[in-house]
């Protein structure tokens, strides 16, 4: 492996959130510290210009992973390496250059914009904070950014409440791009939008990627969206990666039983003659185990149709089953 280092590399990332259920528990320091295993040993890399889709159901840790990559929250353990530099322990001041290069687009375009700022001021903010430009140059850049995300110049003086959901998300994207990032974490960036608007924003994100050479960590629960934008897909279940593969391969030949069940449960537009919901063998029974008291073995074992004795003994590691296609399941090792 002498290839140049990837844009982003995440090694064995762990995030545990302490649970403070009972205030009295704090009086007994010896009491067992209970934690939510939100992210529990996740490793992946993203190349420049590449989109990695991170998919999973609520509570699987995908959003926490995105926030860890941004260092919006601090990891419990593990390393985050960006452009060959370990940024895990950099101070806020040392992080500034990194902050320019890694930006986020949020899910909810209604709560992620400041209601008291005009679009122009919001988009100008990162340019001023990072001292990318000054004076008239700032305004010129704001104009170019608005144009890039498909907002006409008259939107510069509008407030968020005057915009639709799609327009707000365009502002959110312009703001993320203002600092000139190389990696954008898109956290459910199109989930709150209506179908026709969602298509507009997805097309915009893909166009921007091609134009600016952006890399995305695209976090979503929607496999259709993930399939559309991603080069590679990582499937997450209860804080761990179950499977990582190139997009085409993952959808054609999912290996992990969880990925298979997930794909089988998607109501894709069908022929209207048969329904996937009439076939009980496609249904995954049960629900996610509690992320506080995790089973000793494979986290998916309790719902898995292929459960074996060893699945309950120890957790399977993520291993390559084919070149570039890794899976954490004893069926393949």
């Amino acid at each position: 492996m002498t290839a140049p280092s990837p844009l982003l590399e995440v090694r064995d990332l762990v995030k545990h959130f302490p649970v403070r259920a009972n205030p009295l528990a704090a009086l007994w320091p010896a009491a067992i510290r209970r934690v939510v295993h939100a992210v529990d040993g996740v490793s992946f890399a993203i190349e420049a210009g590449e989109t990695l889709g991170l998919v999973g159901e609520s509570g699987c840790g995908k959003t926490t992973t995105g926030r860890l990559v941004l260092r919006a929250i601090e990891p419990t353990r593990g390393r985050i390496v960006f452009e060959g530099q370990d940024i895990t322990e950099l101070s806020a001041r040392q992080l500034l250059p990194f902050r320019r290069k890694v930006q986020i687009v949020f899910q909810d375009p209604y709560s992620s914009l400041n209601p008291r700022m005009t679009v122009g001021r919001m988009v100008a903010e990162p340019i001023r904070v990072h001292r990318i430009a000054e004076g008239a140059e700032v305004e010129a850049r704001v104009g170019a950014l608005l144009d890039m995300v498909g907002l006409s110049p008259e939107y510069r003086d509008r407030y968020p409440h005057e915009l639709s959901g799609g327009q707000r998300q365009r502002v959110g994207i312009a703001r993320a791009l203002a600092a000139g990032p190389r990696l954008v974490v898109a956290d459910e960036a199109v989930s709150a939008l209506d179908v026709s608007v969602r298509a507009q924003i997805l097309n915009l994100l893909v166009d921007l990627r091609e134009r600016l050479g952006l890399a995305y960590l695209f976090v979503s629960h929607d496999l259709g969206v993930i399939r559309f934008v991603s080069h590679r897909v990582a499937v997450m279940y209860l804080g761990k990666l179950a499977e990582v593969a190139p997009t085409g391969e993952l959808f054609k030949q999912p290996l992990h039983p969880y990925t298979q069940a997930l794909l089988a449960a998607i109501p894709a537009v069908g022929d209207g003659e048969t329904s996937i919901f009439d076939d009980p063998t496609r249904l995954l029974e049960g629900e996610l185990p509690n992320p506080i008291d995790l089973p000793r073995g494979c986290r998916f074992a309790s719902r898995c149709p292929h459960r074996m004795a060893r699945c309950d003994e120890a957790e399977p590691a993520l291993r390559e089953a084919a070149p570039g296609h890794a899976v954490a399941c004893y069926l393949y090792s």
């Binding site: 159901e57 179908v195 026709s196 997805l202 097309n203 109501p267 537009v269 919901f277 009439d278």
Partner: protein
């Protein structure tokens, strides 16, 4: 979920074979208006359709299309005033719009069941789940408490909840979203309704849990012959769940067809656009997109309400309102240009 529902009212409740099953709900010219400073705002405009026994009819559209208001108007959940409702809603030989609140209350929860988007908000947090289910049944069924208590347990089993006796004593916060939605369905079907109105029933749920809940609704239709009105913004769900679909845009039905037809050969440009917007699992490349967005009720365009966004609009589309006209049996479209080559 190994146990099956007992068929009620004879075998073959589904929408298959033989003479068409009886019509359970017939909506004619349903119109919902709200008064405002700028005059009346028409949110639902002349919507007509019917649902047969065992049939699942989908109401699909984007936010603001009027699909939820349509279902709320049918259930009598819109307060009048400020709302004004016109048209007819025939159910069980009566026009629901002509009934007063006590009469409606006798029908709702007994003959018509409803489930909504947020199951946890539909349950009262301070009462045990079993007691809430019991209360719903006691309102409509004159049976002793002990019998009803057994029926609560049976219903929990029906909707696939394990250890039902223990779960009946739990409070709503002890249920996950998927479990709570099953409780709502269990409560809804406890009196064996002939109509189930489900408004975005799985929008708050994860995909594997969504599949469990939707499979349950399919079984209700197939095995109990329940007629279902399914409101959803998700074309995939509509295609997998429904027999027939109505596509709504800005308060109007723009197309009606069987599921098999509408996804194979959509006739209205809006339907076509919606389908092209979907990132499909079996394809790639650029998504089709509909430019612009749905108009607000205060600024509805003249003529066809879709014409400002329509890729094939002609001058007359901005002048004349296209009527919903039949194209073939069970198929109708509101477009001047559909079927014209």
């Amino acid at each position: 979920m190994a146990n099956f529902f007992e068929p009620v009212g004879g075998p073959g409740g589904g929408a298959a074979a033989g003479a068409p099953p009886q019509i359970v709900l017939e909506v004619k010219g349903l119109t919902v208006e709200f008064s405002s400073e700028d005059g009346p705002l028409r949110a639902v405009d002349e919507v007509s359709f019917h649902i047969r026994r065992g049939e699942i009819v989908g109401l699909v559209g984007e936010s603001g299309a009027g699909k939820s208001l349509t279902s709320e108007a049918i259930m009598g959940l819109i307060r009048r005033p400020p709302g004004r409702i016109a048209g007819e809603v025939w159910f069980g030989g009566r026009d629901l719009l002509s009934l007063d609140e006590p009469e409606l209350a006798r029908i709702r929860g007994k003959d018509i069941a409803m489930i909504f988007q947020n199951p946890s908000a539909s349950l009262n947090p301070v009462f045990r789940v079993g007691d809430q289910m019991l209360e719903a049944m006691a309102l409509h069924l004159p049976e002793p408490k002990a019998t009803l208590r057994e029926r609560v347990v049976e219903n929990l089993v029906r909707v696939g909840i394990s250890s039902p006796r223990a779960r009946a004593r739990d409070y709503p916060h002890q249920f996950s979203g998927g479990m709570a939605q099953r409780v709502m369905i269990g409560m809804g079907v406890s009196c064996v309704p002939s109509l189930l109105i489900a408004d975005e029933p799985t929008t708050a749920l994860d995909v594997t849990i969504q599949a469990q809940v939707l499979a349950l609704i399919r079984r209700l239709a197939r095995e109990l012959g329940v007629a279902v009105l399914l409101v959803s913004h998700d074309l995939g769900i509509i295609s997998q769940m429904c027999h027939r679909v109505l596509v709504m845009y800005a308060g109007r039905v723009v197309e009606e067809a069987s599921v098999a037809t509408i996804f194979r050969a959509p006739a209205h440009p809006y339907t076509r656009g919606l389908i092209e917007c979907l990132p499909r699992l079996d394809g790639n490349g650029r998504l089709g997109a509909i430019a612009g967005m749905m108009p607000g009720l205060r600024a509805l365009p003249s003529g066809c309400r879709f014409h400002p966004r329509c890729p094939i609009a002609e001058p007359r589309c901005g002048e004349e309102t296209p009527a919903l006209r039949p194209l073939a049996t069970g198929r109708a479209v509101a477009c001047h240009l559909a079927g014209v080559s």
